[in-house]
C-alpha cells in the first residue's frame, strides 16, 4: 500500500518491476510457444473425458467463440459496430440445414458453403459502410438482424418457416473415417469445433499481424490519418465485413450440426443472439485474441450459474447487473485485463528489438522509453502541432 502512495507522490513515474523480454524467434520464445501448444492439446484431451452434457456445453462455448471471433474482427478490431451478426450466424446455420435436408449433403461439406454465403452476405452489408458511418452503419446491420427471422418465416417452403427445420440425427452421423458411431456425435462435434476454433484463432492472429490487419486497426483508431497514408479504407471495410461474415457463417454451420433444430424464433438468430455475441466479445475483451473464448465461456455459463442461485427473472436482473459491473470495473474485458497484467511480467518483442539484443541493459531502456512516451503524450494532448505551425506563419508575416 505504501509503495503505491510513494509512486503517486513521485514526480517521475517509474516502472515498479521491469518485465522479462521475450524476443520472437528466440529459443525461450519457442519453448513458451511449445508449452502453450502442449497446454491446448492437453485441454482438448481433458475435454473428451467430460460427461455428454458438459461436453455439449463446451462445444456450444467453442461455436459461440468462433462466431464472436467473426464479430470481433469487424467490431473489436475495425470499429464497425454490428448488431446484425445474428443474421450472419443464421445464414450459415440455415445453409447447412437446407443443404443436408434438401440436397442430401454430408454435413461437413456444407461448412465451406455456409462460410461462402456468410462471406457474400457480409460483403453486401459491408458495401453501405462505404458511405454510412458510425451509428448509422450500426442501423444497417440492425436492419439485417431484423430482416433475417422475418425472411425465414416468409419463405417457409424453403426454410421450414416458423415451424423450423429439424435435422434428424441420422443425417448428422460422424464421417466414417473418424471411426465414430452415430451415438458419438457429441464427441465428433466437440473435436471438430475445437480444431475449428484453434485454426480460426490462428488465422485471425496472423491476419492482424499482416498489413491488412494494421490497416483494419487504423480504420478503427484514425480513419482520416490512415487514408492519407494510402490505405484503401473502403476496401478494408468491405473485406473485413466479408471475412467477419465468413467466420460467423462457419460458426452458424457448426451450430446447425450441433443442435439439429433451427427456428426463426427463440433467440438463436434474432437480435437476442446479436446482443449475446456483443456481450461475449465485450466481457472477453474487444480486439483481443483470447477474448472471444473467455467471453463465450462466461455468457454460456453465467446464465446457468445465476439460475442455480435463483430462478426466473432474477437471473435476468443479475445478468444485467453483472454486465454493468463488468463495464465499471473491467472495461478492457477479461482478456484485456489479463494482457495488461501479463505485460508487467513478460513482454514479447520483435526479434530486431534493441532491448532484446542486449538483455543486460534492457530493463533501463524500456523504463526510460515508457517515461519518455508519457511526457510526449501529455504535451501532444495539450496542444496539437498543426494549428500552432499555422500560428507561427501568420505571426511571422504580421510584422
Amino acid at each position: 500500500m505504501s509503495t503505491v502512495t510513494d509512486r503517486e507522490r513521485a514526480t517521475e513515474p517509474r516502472t515498479e518491476r521491469s518485465p522479462v523480454l521475450l524476443a520472437e524467434g528466440s529459443r525461450a520464445y519457442r519453448i513458451v510457444v511449445l508449452v502453450i501448444i502442449a497446454g491446448i492439446i492437453g485441454l482438448a484431451l481433458i475435454g473428451t473425458t467430460l460427461s455428454v452434457y458438459r461436453m455439449s456445453q463446451v462445444t456450444a462455448v467453442l461455436i459461440t467463440a468462433i462466431a464472436v471471433i467473426g464479430l470481433n474482427l469487424a467490431t473489436g478490431y475495425t470499429g464497425l459496430l454490428s448488431i446484425g451478426h445474428s443474421a450472419l450466424f443464421g445464414v450459415g446455420a440455415y445453409a447447412t440445414g437446407i443443404l443436408i435436408l434438401d440436397y442430401a449433403y454430408s454435413p461437413i461439406l456444407t461448412l465451406p458453403i455456409a462460410t461462402a454465403l456468410g462471406f457474400a452476405v457480409g460483403l453486401i452489408v459491408g458495401v453501405p459502410a462505404l458511405r454510412i458511418r458510425g451509428l448509422y452503419f450500426s442501423l444497417v446491420t440492425l436492419a439485417l438482424g431484423i430482416a433475417f427471422p422475418e425472411i425465414i418465416r416468409r419463405f417457409d417452403d424453403f426454410t421450414g418457416g416458423a415451424a423450423g427445420l429439424l435435422i434428424r440425427s441420422q443425417f448428422l452421423t460422424p464421417p466414417s473415417w473418424t471411426g465414430l458411431t452415430r451415438f458419438e456425435r457429441g464427441l465428433w462435434l466437440y473435436g471438430l469445433s475445437f480444431v475449428s476454433f484453434v485454426v480460426v484463432m490462428l488465422l485471425v492472429r496472423n491476419l492482424m499481424r499482416s498489413r491488412t490487419g494494421i490497416a483494419m486497426r487504423g480504420v478503427r483508431d484514425h480513419e482520416v490519418a490512415i487514408r492519407s497514408n494510402g490505405v484503401d479504407v473502403a476496401r478494408t471495410k468491405v473485406l473485413t465485413f466479408g471475412l467477419s461474415g465468413a467466420i460467423t457463417g462457419y460458426a452458424g454451420g457448426l451450430f446447425a450440426m450441433n443442435v439439429g433444430a433451427l427456428s426463426p424464433d427463440g433467440g438463436s438468430f434474432t437480435l437476442v443472439k446479436s446482443i449475446e455475441l456483443i456481450t461475449a466479445m465485450f466481457i472477453g475483451g474487444a480486439g483481443t485474441l483470447l477474448g472471444p473464448l473467455i467471453g463465450s465461456t462466461v455468457t454460456v455459463f453465467l446464465p446457468e450459474l445465476t439460475s442455480t442461485w435463483t430462478t426466473g427473472p432474477i437471473s435476468g436482473v443479475l445478468f444485467g447487473v453483472t454486465l454493468i459491473v463488468l463495464v465499471f470495473f473491467m472495461p478492457e474485458g477479461i482478456a484485456g485485463r489479463l494482457q495488461i497484467i501479463a505485460r508487467r511480467f513478460v513482454r514479447v518483442v520483435p526479434p530486431d528489438h534493441p532491448a532484446a539484443r542486449r538483455p543486460t541493459t534492457s530493463t533501463q531502456n524500456s523504463g526510460g522509453n515508457a517515461t519518455g512516451q508519457k511526457s510526449v503524450a501529455a504535451g501532444g494532448a495539450e496542444q496539437p502541432p498543426g494549428p500552432n505551425s499555422d500560428d507561427a506563419s501568420s505571426e511571422g508575416s504580421s510584422r
Binding site: 467490431t75 459496430l81 453501405p128 458511405r131 454510412i132 458511418r133 458510425g134 451509428l135 448509422y136 450500426s138 442501423l139 444497417v140 440492425l142 436492419a143 431484423i146 430482416a147 422475418e150 425472411i151 418465416r153 416468409r154 480513419e223 482520416v224 446482443i275 456483443i278 456481450t279 465485450f282 474487444a286 426466473g312 427473472p313 432474477i314 437471473s315 435476468g316 436482473v317 445478468f319 444485467g320 447487473v321 453483472t322 454486465l323 454493468i324 463488468l326 463495464v327 465499471f328 472495461p331
Partner: protein, 298 residues
C-alpha cells in the same frame, strides 16, 4: 377508399408512437451522444408502473402522469450513476451498459409484475361505439389521443428549445459541453435533465401504446416499438426533433401500406421492408434526413 384511409390512419397512429419514443432517443442523443438501447425498456417499466397505479384505484390520466415522473427519475438517475462514469471510456462501454440496463429492466419488470399479459385501460373512452368517421374510416379515441400527445410533445419541446433559457442551455451543452461549462452552465444538471425528459416522453409513449398493441402490456411489448423508434430517429438524423417526428410517421405509414398492398410481403415482412427503405435512404443521405452533424469519431 375507406380501406386506404383506414390503413393510412393506422400507419399514422403507429408512427406517432414510434415518433414519441424516437423523440426520447433524440433527447438522449442530444445530451450525451449515446443511442440509448434501453429506452424502450425504461418506457416499459414506466408503463407497468402506471398500470399498477391504475390497479390501486388511481384515475388513468393520473397514473400516466405518475408513470412519466417515474420515467423521468429512472432515466435521470441512470445517466448520473451508470452512463456518465463510463461515457469517457468508450462508445462500446456505454452501449454495453445500455444493454445491461435493457436486460436488467426487462427482467425486473417480469420479476415485479409477472410475465402474464396485462390490460392497460385507455386514457380516453375506447369502447366499440366510441368512434367518429373520417372519409368513411372509423377513428377511435385512443387513436386520436396518440396524435394529440405527439403534437403536444412536439410543440412543448420546440417551445422549450427555442423560447426558454433552459432550452438554450440544453442546446449549448449538446453543441459543445465544455464551452457551455465555461460560461457557467451547469452541464451536469442539463445532462440529467435531458435523460429525464427522455424518460418521461418514453413513459408517455409506453402508456399510450399498450391499449393499441396487439399483445397489450407484456414484457415484449416495447421491443418492436423501440426498433421502429430507433429507425425513425436515425432516419430523421438522430439529433433533429422534427426529423424524429417525420421519421416516425414515415415508418408507421410505410409499414401499414406495405402490409396492405404488397402481397409478396404481406403481414410477414413489414419491418424488413421499412428497414430496407431506411438503408436506401441512408445510402443517399448518410446522416439521415435532417441530421446536422456527422456522427463519427474523427
Amino acid at each position: 377508399m375507406e380501406l386506404f384511409v383506414e390503413r393510412l390512419l393506422a400507419g399514422v397512429t403507429n408512427g406517432s408512437i414510434f415518433a414519441l419514443l424516437a423523440l426520447a432517443l433524440v433527447m438522449v442523443y442530444r445530451s450525451t451522444g449515446t443511442l440509448n438501447f434501453a429506452q424502450g425498456e425504461f418506457a416499459l417499466f414506466s408503463a407497468f408502473f402506471a398500470w399498477w397505479l391504475v390497479g390501486t384505484g388511481l384515475p388513468v390520466w393520473a397514473a400516466v402522469i405518475a408513470g412519466m415522473v417515474a420515467g423521468f427519475v429512472l432515466c435521470a438517475a441512470a445517466e448520473r450513476a451508470l452512463i456518465r462514469p463510463v461515457q469517457r471510456k468508450s462508445e462500446l462501454a456505454t452501449l454495453i451498459v445500455a444493454l445491461g440496463l435493457f436486460s436488467g429492466l426487462n427482467a425486473a419488470v417480469a420479476l415485479i409484475w409477472g410475465t402474464d399479459t396485462k390490460v392497460m385501460p385507455s386514457i380516453v373512452p375506447n369502447g366499440l361505439e366510441d368512434y367518429f368517421e373520417l372519409f368513411g374510416a372509423r377513428v377511435y379515441g385512443d387513436t386520436v389521443i396518440t396524435w394529440v400527445a405527439l403534437a403536444a410533445v412536439t410543440i412543448l419541446m420546440t417551445l422549450l428549445f427555442t423560447k426558454t433559457e433552459l432550452g438554450l442551455h440544453m442546446r449549448a451543452v449538446a453543441d459543445n459541453a465544455e464551452s457551455a461549462a465555461l460560461t457557467g452552465v451547469n452541464t451536469s444538471r442539463i445532462l440529467m435533465l435531458g435523460w429525464g425528459l427522455a424518460g418521461a416522453i418514453g413513459a408517455l409513449a409506453g402508456s399510450l401504446a399498450t391499449p393499441l398493441a396487439p399483445e397489450q402490456l407484456s414484457v415484449t411489448t416495447m421491443f418492436p416499438i423501440f426498433i421502429g423508434a430507433c429507425a425513425a430517429a436515425l432516419l430523421g438524423g438522430l439529433d433533429s426533433l422534427a426529423g424524429a417526428v417525420i421519421g416516425g410517421l414515415i415508418i408507421g405509414v410505410v409499414e401499414a401500406m406495405v402490409t396492405g398492398y404488397v402481397p409478396l410481403v404481406g403481414g410477414a415482412m413489414q419491418q424488413t421492408t421499412a428497414m430496407v427503405l431506411i438503408v436506401l435512404i441512408l445510402v443517399v443521405r448518410p446522416n439521415g434526413l435532417f441530421g446536422s452533424k456527422e456522427l463519427e469519431r474523427v
